[in-house]
């Protein structure tokens, strides 16, 4: 039995090695970048991968593009958000990528080497700059924001009044005072809610180091700066929300838990994105609309929030580079962005689109428009997901075990240094 087993094992290993070798071969060679400015794009059939239900709505726009640009055809496939990263990476490995894809900003990390750089001469200043960072690796821009999303404060105006506040908190101190007042004078169990589940943690907590003037990566993208003093002080304030029992270190993360606590008055302040209004109005029923308001992040050195949303990218393996960028540019036109907002409800990434009455006429949206001027994204470095993992673990210790932020971030920095930035 002995010999055959060994033989079999080595044969199996050989087979695996052969397959693995296949995997490396399959990484598409960098296609010649045929995206010089002014070069006319030959009409082509473009394959687009869009995320979730956006993919079902997108054909309503593409038909207009096809009408304006004879000869072009756009075929859209919807990709589920669940395991989208696996989908992109395997497609890249197998060399079966589409021409264009919508990629969630948090999914950009680690796959940016599959994307073409934006054509020379592209004006990236038209986009909100925070979300744009999710597509910038060092000096390279490998995609453009399409739709954006960010978090703002939702606060109970009635509870705030009892706590002595007629308007939103303007500074960190006011935020704390308002949250405390809601607990002491208005009967709220918790002042503010911070999601502390591993996948949400950083999206909330990074706002504080950023607002304190801290950055987690150096400007040239070459080095992580997790233990920068400004970052440490920001995290210290974030930690104080938990140590002073203003925020629950382990809030119920079940479906609708945040909404129901907010509706019942157990919770005074929520940190959430634009979809939250709908969820709150549904959970609160008639008349609840008047009991809360939205506000931008309170200002320390700035009032910076986490930028989310989706970027548009063109794959290196695409044979229709110029045509693909033409479509991306068309989608970035302000009037097309407004049109897409009307179809999908997703917020435009192009700043001038916000002057359209469809957006400027809505006071709640105005808060998001204001907040979007001050947002930030983690860098989409190839190693960001690993660093995020390390940082997330340390933040968990800071929130739940009361670990000293300086020590936690020092350890995270040491680990991040050994991981590197991948550039």
């Amino acid at each position: 039995m002995r010999n055959p087993t060994l033989k079999a094992a080595s044969a199996a290993l050989l087979a695996l090695a052969a397959l693995a070798a296949c995997g490396r071969d399959a990484t598409p060679e960098a296609a010649p970048a045929q995206n010089a400015p002014g070069q006319s794009a030959a009409p082509a059939t473009l394959l687009v991968w869009a995320m979730g239900t956006d993919g079902d709505n997108l054909p309503k726009l593409t038909s207009k593009f096809e009408a304006e640009n004879p000869g072009y055809k756009v075929e859209v496939t919807s990709i589920p958000w669940q395991d989208a990263a696996a989908k992109f990476r395997t497609a890249q490995a197998g060399g079966v990528t589409p021409d264009i894809a919508q990629v969630g900003t948090t999914l950009m990390g680690g796959i940016t080497d599959a994307f073409q750089e934006v054509p020379a001469g592209t004006d990236t200043s038209v986009y909100f700059q925070g979300p744009l960072k999710s597509a910038q690796v060092g000096a390279q821009t490998v995609g453009v924001p399409w739709v954006v999303d960010t978090r703002v404060l939702y606060y109970r105006t009635d509870l705030a009044k009892k706590a002595g506040f007629d308007g939103p908190p303007k500074t960190w101190d006011e935020l704390k005072a308002m949250a405390k007042g809601m607990q002491e004078k208005a009967g709220a169990k918790w002042g503010i809610r911070m999601s502390t589940t591993p996948d949400q943690e950083l999206q909330n907590s990074l706002a504080f180091p950023w607002s304190n003037g801290g950055q987690i990566v150096s400007a040239d993208g070459a080095k992580w700066t997790l233990n920068d003093p400004a970052v440490v002080d920001g995290v210290k304030f974030y930690q104080s929300l938990f140590t002073e029992k203003i925020a629950d270190p382990a809030p119920d993360s079940g479906a609708g838990a945040a909404e129901s606590a907010f509706v019942s008055g157990d919770l005074g302040i929520l940190v959430a994105g634009p979809g939250e209004s709908t969820a709150l109005d549904e959970a609160g029923g008639d008349g609840f609309k008047d009991k809360y308001a939205l506000a931008t992040f309170p200002v320390q050195k700035s009032g910076t929030s986490f930028a989310g949303g989706s970027d548009l990218v063109v794959f290196k393996a695409s044979k229709n580079g110029p045509a693909a960028w033409k479509f991306v540019e068309w989608l970035s036109k302000p009037e097309v962005q407004v049109e897409w907002y009307k179809i999908s409800g997703a917020l435009p990434a192009v700043q001038s689109a916000w002057q359209d009455p469809a957006l400027s006429g809505d006071p709640r949206l105005g808060v998001f428009g204001e907040q979007l001027k001050d947002t930030n994204s983690p860098p989409p470095n190839a190693t960001w997901l690993q660093v995020a993992d390390v940082l997330g673990q340390q933040m968990e210790q800071v929130v739940k075990n009361g670990k000293d932020p300086a020590a936690a971030l020092g350890e995270a920095q040491a680990a991040a240094d050994s991981i590197g930035t991948g550039s």
């Binding site: 199996a12 995997g23 958000w81 060399g95 479906a255 509706v263």
Partner: protein
């Protein structure tokens, strides 16, 4: 008498505990998003609506996804039943060079976790130009090491005398396989069939990656696509979709349950 009633009471509690989530799912599928998220959330739907189901059938073309799932699952099951029992028969009853080697290879494949081979497998399928075809969805799962192992173990216990007798009577090998071996393999075939069906029916990641356009998506992929967004989840839609996905499994299990338990038991003791 009292002991018996205690046992039954325990069983009733266990059954209720097992069924309650399914019943909640069924009831929830008739609620609106707002009603599901309301606190306190009621058990019975206050304003029952078939809207979630209507959305699945009218707007979201459930039929196409259902058809894909059925085709993939059916071919996969038939392939497994046929090929696993054939290989199992050969490994159990024939003597040939390299038999042990092949069996060891099967065992090794059984031990390699799927995640390890996932990307290489996809690259292979992509290189063969098979992405976005039924072939891509089916071929990698057409036979399974577990199935081969299970069938070999069961067939090894069929008396050789039975096969010798058939051979003396002049039956060819295919005839022996079809007329003697297969009919004796009812329980393990049923078990293998159910396991394969469940595996294929519930598989999410492979069809997600292998299908390149929506019309090739299977039910679990479609369910995820339409119910789970980046931020919000459409719970009503998710629950209604889950009911529709689970219904065939429940039916299969109800009809084959007898063989299923039998099969597990017989293979288990060997």
């Amino acid at each position: 008498m009292t002991r018996r009633s205690i046992v039954y009471l325990g069983l009733v509690v266990a059954v209720v505990a097992t069924l309650l989530p399914f019943i909640w799912m069924l009831l929830g599928s008739f609620k609106t998003q707002g009603e599901i998220l309301r606190n306190p959330s009621g058990f019975w739907p206050q304003a029952p609506t078939a809207g979630n189901y209507a959305t699945w059938f009218t707007e979201l073309h459930l039929g196409q996804f259902f058809l894909n799932s059925v085709v993939v699952a059916a071919v996969t099951v038939v392939g497994n039943l046929l090929f696993c029992s054939m290989v199992g028969y050969a490994l159990a009853k024939f003597e040939f060079r390299g038999k042990r080697f092949i069996f060891t290879l099967v065992m090794i494949t059984l031990m390699v976790p799927g995640v390890v081979t996932f990307v290489p497998l996809f690259v292979l399928v992509a290189k063969l130009g098979l992405t976005n075809t039924y072939t891509a969805l089916i071929l990698p799962f057409l036979t399974s090491p577990l199935g081969v192992f299970m069938m070999r173990q069961f067939i090894a216990d069929i008396p050789d005398a039975l096969l010798e007798a058939a051979r003396i009577d002049g039956a060819g090998e295919l005839r022996i396989f079809a007329r003697i071996v297969l009919p004796l393999c009812g329980p393990p075939l049923a078990t293998l069939g159910i396991l394969t069906f469940l595996g294929s029916w519930n598989n999410f990641l492979w069809p997600l990656v292998a299908a390149q356009t929506q019309d090739m998506y299977t039910l679990p992929v479609a369910l995820s696509l339409y119910s789970t967004g980046q931020i919000a989840t459409q719970y009503g839609l998710l629950l209604a979709g889950s009911v529709l996905v689970i219904a065939p499994i429940v039916l299969v299990f109800v009809f084959l349950q007898r063989y299923f338990t039998q099969g597990i038991a017989t293979v288990g003791v060997r």
